[in-house]
């Protein structure tokens, strides 16, 4: 150990004192020191390092800057078109001849000069122009040679809307109950600020009414329907088993009748409740419809925007630094706590965070006891021999089996085989729509538990074998039994190692996506796996997952450019979780190592 660290520095071949270039034949010549090759190896380490740091920086910078409000720029193009929006990206390219040639004559010369001065290269900016409902475009490229005028309109306002994505425009007037109560930008904006909070609150109330109260009504109706169906199945079974004339059949028929009557009353009640909620929603909608703001968009059209549509609005070019921070923080807050909007490209990722955490926890609960028991068996109880070492190698190798293979197994065995059997036995009323017979959070957790089992087994085994045998022998010599030794001496000593294994397993489980695609992660799961209906934890439900969210938003959304910021923030969140878990594990491992160094008596 000491030898190696002393010798880190290359010793020059020639001795300092010798004046003449006299050398002994045995002295190391310059080529023997292989400097260029050492430099090459150093360079490779440098590349590896640069790769990690570069990637993390890329993710970090893109993710952290996403929510920062940027100014709204208005471009007037030489062709007469105007674009207003946020600049999201810049790049340079070589415009094709015909693109330039299509410019109006008066602009041609200027464009030609500009291009010549830049060596034929044009700089262009990708402007997020929003207003998709009005223009059918989310983004526009603006090249430098076609810009006639570039301004930052003072009153340019950005609205993040409930539907149709972002809106860019300038306030013109404000309407209350159809009456114009402000007719200049400042006045309209003041009115907007005054009413927006209240309108947002009542919109949230409407959302609650729609999702919670109507959801409750639907739940009651569905439950009654299922009860009837269950009873119907019982009747059929009785008919097959005992025949149509039997007592059992008659009794089953009677209770079916009761069940149907009960369902009818529930239905009636539900209808009543439904219409009550409906009137309430209508009232809220009517109240919200009173407030409207008239906006002028970049091409001069004026559009009425109902306040209830606006989730967040701010005049981007008038924001002070602190206001910007306010917008930034509120966006992060929404990201963590809200449901996704706009095909997952806006809003928050709360269900995905929730799903990831619940899945990882269930997985840990499943994997740790079994992993520890398996390791205990291998290390403490099984007779050491070729069989055990073969098993050990095999388990080691399972850690290297591709995760998708476990996903395939999970789909075939858990979802289709086990889940299908469970559905037949307990959820026959719901068939043919599957309950457990499809992907769900339980199956996903089980699949990942199987996937991470080798991690826990290997880590626990290492921890167990690191417990010095002198401690075991000491315990035995005091008369403790094997189990007592394990319980009181070995396991407590090995606990940090087991924890490391668990955390590593959690980190791996949280980052895996491929198997989840097969066993239950979905792009949108409005129902969380835990809610207020019996039995409260719904393990059969499919769920959202941060990793799958990244895949889905980045690859399956129609507007991937607009979704990109969302992907970066989700990425930073996922990496954050995993890096923290890993760091904790590394810490624990180091502490464990140190403790055992000191306890080697």
């Amino acid at each position: 150990m000491s030898m190696a660290s002393v010798d880190r520095v290359t010793i020059p071949a020639a001795s300092k004192s010798s004046r003449t270039p006299r050398r002994t034949a045995s002295g190391a010549s310059l080529p023997a020191q292989g400097h260029p090759m050492v430099w090459l190896t150093a360079g490779m380490l440098g590349i590896a390092l640069a790769m990690v740091i570069g990637l993390l920086l890329l993710v970090f910078v893109s993710g952290v800057s996403t929510f920062w409000p940027v100014p709204i720029v208005r471009f007037e193009l030489v062709g007469g078109a105007t674009h207003m929006g946020e600049v999201t990206r810049r790049e340079s390219y070589e415009p094709a001849e015909d693109v330039v040639a299509r410019l109006p004559v008066e602009a041609l010369e200027r464009a030609g000069r500009l291009l010549d001065s830049q060596g034929g290269v044009s700089h262009r900016e990708l402007v997020r122009t929003g207003n998709y409902d009005l223009t059918n475009e989310h983004f526009n490229w603006v090249s430098d040679f076609e810009i006639a005028d570039k301004t930052r309109p003072e009153w340019a306002v950005i609205f993040e809307r409930l539907t149709w994505g972002r809106f860019y425009g300038e306030p013109v007037a404000f309407f209350l109950d159809g009456d114009q109560i402000a007719n200049d930008p400042a006045g309209a904006w003041a009115q907007f600020k005054q009413y927006h909070r209240a309108v947002s609150q009542s919109r949230d109330r409407r959302y609650r009414l729609e999702s919670r109260d109507i959801g409750h009504v639907n739940h009651l109706i569905e439950k009654a329907r299922l009860d009837v169906r269950t009873q119907e199945l019982r009747v059929e079974k009785a008919e097959q088993q005992y025949g149509a004339g039997s007592e059992e059949y008659r009794r089953a028929l009677e209770s079916l009748q009761e069940e149907r009557e009960y369902a009818a009353t529930i239905d009636a009640e539900a209808q009543l409740e439904y219409s009550r909620v409906r009137t309430e929603i209508d009232a809220v909608n009517a109240e919200n419809a009173r407030y409207q703001i008239l906006m002028r968009i970049s091409d001069g059209r004026e559009v009425l925007v109902p306040l209830a549509e606006v989730v967040r609005g701010y005049p981007a070019n008038r924001l002070s630094f602190f206001r910007k921070i306010g917008v930034y923080v509120s966006r992060w807050f929404e990201f963590f706590t809200a449901n996704p909007r706009e095909a997952n490209s806006e809003g928050g990722v709360f269900p995905a965070i929730f799903g990831t955490i619940v899945m990882t926890l269930i997985m840990s609960v499943l994997v740790v006891p079994f992993g520890v028991i398996a390791a205990l068996y291998l290390r403490e109880y099984a007779k050491a021999g070729p069989l055990v070492s073969t098993v050990r190698i095999a388990i080691n190798n399972l850690a290297g089996v591709p995760s998708i293979v476990f996903g395939v197994f999970g789909l075939g065995f858990f979802s289709y085989f086990l889940g299908g059997a469970i559905d037949q036995a307990f959820f026959a009323a719901k068939l043919p729509s599957p309950t457990y017979g499809t992907g769900g959070i339980l199956w996903a957790s089980l699949t990942l538990a199987l996937l991470t089992l080798p991690v826990v087994i290997v880590a626990t085994e290492e921890a167990l074998s690191a417990v010095p045998s002198s401690m075991r022998e000491g315990s035995y010599s005091c008369g403790a039994s094997k189990w007592q030794t394990i319980k009181r001496i070995v396991l407590p000593k090995a606990l940090p190692g087991i924890m490391t294994g668990m955390i590593l397993a959690m980190a791996r489980g949280a980052g895996e996506v491929a198997p989840l695609m097969l066993v239950g992660a979905v792009k949108l799961a409005p129902e969380l796996p835990i809610d207020r209906y019996f039995p409260f934890i719904h393990l059969e439900r499919s769920f959202m997952h941060l990793g799958f969210h990244i895949y889905d938003v980045g690859f399956q959304s129609q507007n991937s450019e607009a979704a990109k910021p969302m992907v970066f923030t989700t990425t930073i969140l996922l990496i954050g979780i995993i890096v923290v878990l890993n760091l904790v594990a590394i810490r624990l491992r180091n502490r464990l190592n140190r403790r055992f160094v000191s306890s080697q008596f």
Binding site: P31, G407, G511, V513
Partner: protein, 871 residues
């Protein structure tokens, strides 16, 4: 028990509680432990259990054999069909004038229905869609449909005699067969006949051959009459909603068959699915392929014979289309059934550049008398004159079953049930129903791993294409393109990752300061914890679009950055010895902050020039083969090889001589000489690459050409390609290889290091001659484990590789790996379908591949560890 009192006597027995918990813990841990380990191996067993049924052969069993039918009626069966649930069937009799409807289980006749008033002179029927076309002696034709319509009844709706029908039992309701379904309903199969009004022919001459196809625009009918005139008409049917009257309008054209011989008319007329090609087949094997795209201008495309010239006695007995109406199915008097379809061929003489070829051949025991094609697969049933029948799966060239249908009378008609689960055959002696269970005929070993000639392809090939929009589509389950894609992904990621990881590990363990080393390792290991979905996302949406704009620069930086590192080493040697010692401490920072940035800057600056010189100014166009010569590509491909050759020659021929010279000079001289040697070596490398590349180009081999087996190596640029995957997969495999290599190098005992250094070896010599050879097996296992990871990586390739299952080694296009394929297709595959099982087989392949690779690596590592301890 005497003596002084020494304290309380302790009970020497173990307390029962302890004993019980001991036994309990031991048994629980043993059972659960073994259970967990068994559960893990269940994965393997389960995957196998799903995949194994693919290999299950065909089982047949005679369900019913009805002899009495022959007594009642004549033996002819112009056509016949079975319903989907195997309860009823029908056959056309009396030359197709009447239709006999019967139960399958007892053979009981349910009714004889008259189809036409006069006996048709030509008939054509397809069971799949029920379309029937008949031609008559007066030149007219009738189109129609004959099929089973399924209706459901509850017990209350039917007469009492059917109430007691058991599940699966068959009864009769209103002249049609009914069956009790497992759910308890009654399912009736109603024989339905719909005939359109007759279409008058252009002449009064009797129709001798007829065929039809149903396009989306409507049916097209082709006829040949006794005068040798082929007419093709597309028919449009308009039904008046109020009156229910159907009006038929036709438009079409005709064609006089040249050299028409009334005594020897064609025996078969076939019109393909799109009605753009029509075939005429004569009994002696002659055929004519006609262009019928423009019905006003029908012409012969190709004529020929199905038989070789020597086979004079051979006669065509049956000719029909396979499912999808693209492949001709031909039965002959020698008992051979063959399939024929057109393929594109440059040597073809026909206008459309197509040529009719024989794709498969199935031999039988006696002359072929009847053939039937399945309505959902490329499965055929062939009846022979000796009363036997055989089934074949056409594309795989696979014989499935051989069935003794009748004692000796020839099979006169045969049909495959709509679900491919039974065969119905009739002969003069009667009728036979045979259950036919061929669960996965499309997935034989040959189909999965061999070259298969699919319809319309120029030649047999490995193809993976599991689904498509149309019914007639044939799934193609060639796993080879996926395995190729997997290996390609592995190859390129290893090419990028292994040198970086191993060399970095060498530097970290042998040259890096120990304090820095302690920090470096966790940092690199952190790379391993980056979720692959993040890597895939970055690769596909950030790196791929970026790289596609600067490909030449990226390629150049792969050459320049290592070169600058080496150059840095040579320049460093120029420094006086004292300075070198001081600098050595900062070597890593120098490389990281100076050499790499300089290399990158040079690459950026030289990118344009590089593109002009190597790729004739436009890389994308060059890769498409539009501009420039192949020389630049050759140089690029040959540079690693020629560098190796030059280095070898230098080491063998130049260095020993230089060593003698160096011995007489000081470091300054030596370092300059070395720099010069480096420059000469560089020049030599380029010269060698250029001259070999030039030679190859001169003899006409372009670097962009298709190479046998691997396709082009440099080809069309696709944004998501192997280069990107190789790079980003580096993030996944570098940390693994790095960590294990570093551990292996570190675990070489220090006394070996010390001994080597003490005997005067430099650190580099120690590393090369002592450390690396000792740790070789450890390094090998590191590479193997990295390989295992690369083989199974899913998300990165799923997102960044484009997922096209092609077999090309082209660096600049994508591929589809086994893992990505499973991720894409398994959610859509129906449980227990062939597709599902093939995907399980793919998963099993992946499992076995990685398991074997890892086991080898693990075994090597264990051995290395033992050896390292012994040293």
């Amino acid at each position: 028990m005497s003596g002084p009192f020494t304290g309380y006597q302790r009970a020497k027995k173990t307390r029962p509680g302890v004993r019980i918990s001991e036994i309990a813990s031991k048994s629980i841990i043993s059972v659960a432990g073994i259970g967990v380990i068994a559960a893990v191996f269940l994965v393997f067993v389960f995957l196998g259990s799903v995949a194994i049924p693919l290999a299950r052969g065909t089982r047949t069993e005679t369900v019913a054999n009805h002899q009495e039918l022959s007594a009642a009626q004549r033996s002819d069966a112009a056509f016949l069909a079975v319903d989907e649930f195997l309860i009823a069937g029908f056959k056309a009799q009396d030359g197709g004038r009447t239709l006999r409807h019967f139960r399958l289980d007892t053979g009981e006749v349910l009714g004889d229905l008259t189809l036409f008033d006069t006996k048709p002179t030509a008939l054509s029927f397809t069971q799949q869609d029920g379309w029937l076309a008949a031609g008559f002696a007066d030149g007219s034709t009738i189109l129609g449909r004959v099929y089973f319509d399924t209706r459901f009844y509850e017990n209350e709706d039917v007469p009492g005699n059917l109430h007691d029908l058991e599940i699966g039992e068959i009864g009769v309701l209103a002249g049609n067969a009914v069956e009790r379904t497992p759910v308890g309903q009654l399912r009736q199969q109603v024989l339905t006949i719909e005939l359109d009004p007759p279409i008058a022919g252009t002449t009064e001459s009797p129709v001798i051959l007829i065929d039809k196809t149903v396009k989306t625009s409507g049916p097209v009918v082709a006829t040949v009459n006794a005068d040798g005139i082929l007419s093709i008409a597309s028919v449009s049917l308009r039904r008046n909603i109020l009156t229910g009257r159907v009006t038929v309008t036709t438009s079409g054209g005709s064609f006089t068959i040249p050299e028409y011989d009334r005594e020897n008319p064609p025996i078969s007329l076939l019109i393909n699915a799109f009605a753009d090609t029509t075939y005429l087949v004569w009994a002696d094997g002659e055929y004519a392929r006609l262009d019928t795209r423009d019905l006003q201008n029908i012409g012969i495309l190709e004529t020929g014979s199905f038989f070789a010239q020597s086979e004079t006695g051979r006669r065509v007995t049956v000719a029909n289309f396979l499912l999808g109406r693209g492949t001709i199915l031909l039965g002959d008097s020698e008992g051979t059934t063959s399939t024929w379809f057109t393929v594109r061929n440059d040597a073809a003489t026909a206008r459309d550049q197509l040529i009719l070829v024989n794709a498969a051949r199935f031999s039988g025991s006696a002359p072929v008398t009847a053939v039937a094609s399945s309505s959902r697969k490329r499965l055929i049933a062939v009846g022979y004159a000796d009363g036997t029948a055989r089934t074949f799966y056409v594309t795989n060239n696979a014989g499935l079953a051989q069935i003794e249908m009748f004692q000796s009378s020839p099979v006169s008609g045969i049909a495959i049930s709509p679900r491919d689960d039974a065969l119905l055959a009739v002969s003069a002696n009667g009728m036979s129903v045979v259950s036919h269970n061929a669960p996965h005929p499309e997935a034989t070993v040959r189909a999965l791993f061999g070259r298969i000639w699919y319809e319309g392809n120029a030649a047999p090939d490995h193809i993976w294409q599991s689904s498509s929009g149309t019914d007639a589509f044939e799934p193609k389950y060639g796993l080879i393109p996926l395995i190729f894609g997997t290996l390609k992904a592995t190859f390129f990621s290893m090419l990028f990752g292994v040198p970086i990881a191993i060399l970095a590990a060498v530097y970290t363990s042998e040259f890096l300061h120990s304090r820095l080393r302690a920090k470096m390792k966790p940092l690199i290991e952190m790379m391993a914890s980056l979720p692959s979905v993040v890597l895939g996302f970055l690769a596909a949406l950030v790196i791929a679009p970026f790289v596609s704009r600067v490909v030449p620069t990226v390629l150049l930086s792969f050459i320049l950055v290592p070169l600058v590192m080496l150059l840095g080493g040579y320049l460093y040697q120029l420094l006086p010895g004292k300075l070198r010692v001081i600098m050595a401490r900062h070597r890593f920072l120098l490389v990281l902050l100076v050499a790499i940035p300089i290399g990158l800057l040079l690459a950026i600056a030289g990118g344009g020039l590089f593109e002009r010189i190597v790729f004739a100014g436009n890389m994308v166009a060059w890769l498409d083969g539009q501009t420039g010569s192949g020389l630049g590509g050759w140089v690029l491909l040959l540079i690693p090889g020629s560098a190796a050759v030059v280095a070898f020659v230098m080491a063998r021929k130049v260095n020993p001589r230089l060593r003698d010279i160096y011995r007489k000079h000081d470091d300054r001289f030596v370092s300059r000489m070395e720099l010069g040697r480096f420059g000469i070596g560089l020049l030599g490398t380029i010269l060698l690459a250029v001259s070999v590349g030039g030679f190859l180009t001169l003899i006409g081999i372009d670097s962009r050409a298709q190479f046998p087996g691997i396709g082009p190596v440099l080809g069309t640029y696709v944004q998501r390609n192997s280069l990107i995957v190789g790079f980003i997969m580096g993030f996944a495999i570098i940390p693994i290889i790095f960590t294990i290599s570093d551990d292996a190098l570190r675990s070489v005992p220090d006394h070996l290091r010390s001994a080597s250094l003490a005997s005067g070896a430099t650190q580099w010599q120690t590393t090369m001659r002592v450390i690396i050879p000792t740790a070789m097996s450890g390094l090998f296992s590191a590479v193997m484990i990295g390989l295992g990871r690369a083989v199974g990586e899913t998300m990165i390739v799923l997102m960044a590789a484009g997922n096209t299952p092609i077999m090309e080694m082209n660096i600049f296009n994508g591929f589809r790996t086994l893992a990505a394929n499973i991720a894409v297709e398994l959610p859509e595959a129906a449980a227990n379908s062939t597709h599902y099982r093939v995907l399980f087989l793919a998963a099993l392949t992946l499992f076995v591949m990685t398991f074997v690779v890892n086991t080898v690596a693990e075994a090597v590592r264990q051995r290395f560890r033992r050896r390292a301890y012994q040293l």
